[in-house]
């Protein structure tokens, strides 16, 4: 991983009370020399790797289990990816799908913090043909 530049994507869980605006303002108030770009799902932070990680840890204090992050290959505003410059966003379908599941992951992290014991969920079985026939047949 490059130590020079790190672009990190911060995403807010749908059940979190934090807004992208709050997140961006908090990063600005930390006062580090990084670039911040507010987005619909949270924000992008770009700067030296160590500083960006420091900011991630600091920002997480707002909502420890409701803010998620991953690194991004392309820099902020890269014309090949930035929508403002008609770039493609091939990763957006993935982000949208993950955003929907974040509530469940957040619940999982909360349960983990509480030390809750989790039961194994029995696997779904296929419907036997005889039962399926009963459902289909009209009396």
């Amino acid at each position: 991983m490059s130590e020079e530049r790190e672009t990190r994507l911060l995403m807010i869980s749908p059940s979190s009370h934090i807004t992208p605006d709050q997140l961006t303002r908090t990063i600005h108030t930390i006062g580090k020399r990084v670039a911040v770009k507010e987005t619909c799902y949270g924000c992008l932070v770009e700067g030296p790797s160590a500083t960006v990680r420091e900011i991630r840890d600091e920002v997480r204090k707002l909502d420890p289990n409701g803010i998620f992050s991953k690194i991004r290959a392309y820099p902020c505003g890269d014309p090949r990816r930035c929508r403002a410059q008609h770039g493609t966003r091939p990763g957006f379908a993935q982000l949208e799908t993950e955003w929907k599941a974040l509530t469940y992951i957040e619940a999982g992290l909360d349960a983990s913090d509480r030390g809750e014991k989790v039961q194994e969920i029995p696997a779904k079985k296929q419907l036997p043909v005889t039962e399926f026939k009963k459902i289909c047949e009209v009396d």
Partner: protein, 150 residues
């Protein structure tokens, strides 16, 4: 420890691996090196000759070029990995869309490395979310203990 995540571009898995104190191996880090250091138009859509040769290590010449291209990025990550987390049963838009054969090849390569692996189901309810997080947490904590024993 270095943990390979499958799908390799997943934010959920990347975040959880970092939270529990390990280093995730992801597509994003591999592509960042190509974006920063190599002058090619748009990785991963465009590849270098080296990528094509690297891909041959993981998939034969008769395998479609798309699979070889993907494995040129993911193969070296699997080689570096000390452990792996696989998320199964996800909707089609989750992970690198386009080729189930590549995903099967990735699972095969992980299995061939004989490293510790945990498979979790994509969560669609709160209970499944709790189970997925608990499984990943226990697995990653177990890796720490393994390092201490070694």
């Amino acid at each position: 420890m270095k943990v390979f995540i499958d799908p390799p571009n997943s934010m959920i898995l990347f975040d959880l691996v970092e939270r529990f104190g390990h280093e995730p191996l992801s597509t994003m880090a591999a592509l960042q090196e190509r974006v920063d250091n190599i002058e090619i138009d748009m990785p991963p859509m465009n590849v270098t000759l080296d990528d094509v040769v690297k891909g041959l290590k993981y998939a034969g010449i008769e395998v479609p070029s798309g699979i070889r291209g993907r494995l040129a990025v993911w193969g070296p990550l699997i080689d570096q990995a000390d452990a792996a987390i696989i998320m199964d049963g996800a909707p089609f838009a989750f992970g690198c869309i386009g080729c189930e054969r590549s995903n099967l090849m990735v699972k095969y390569l992980i299995q061939r490395r004989q490293i510790p692996v945990v498979t979790v189901e994509y969560p669609e309810t709160e209970e499944q979310g709790k189970l997925a997080v608990a499984k990943i947490r226990d697995f990653l904590k177990g890796l720490e203990n393994k390092t201490e024993v070694d």
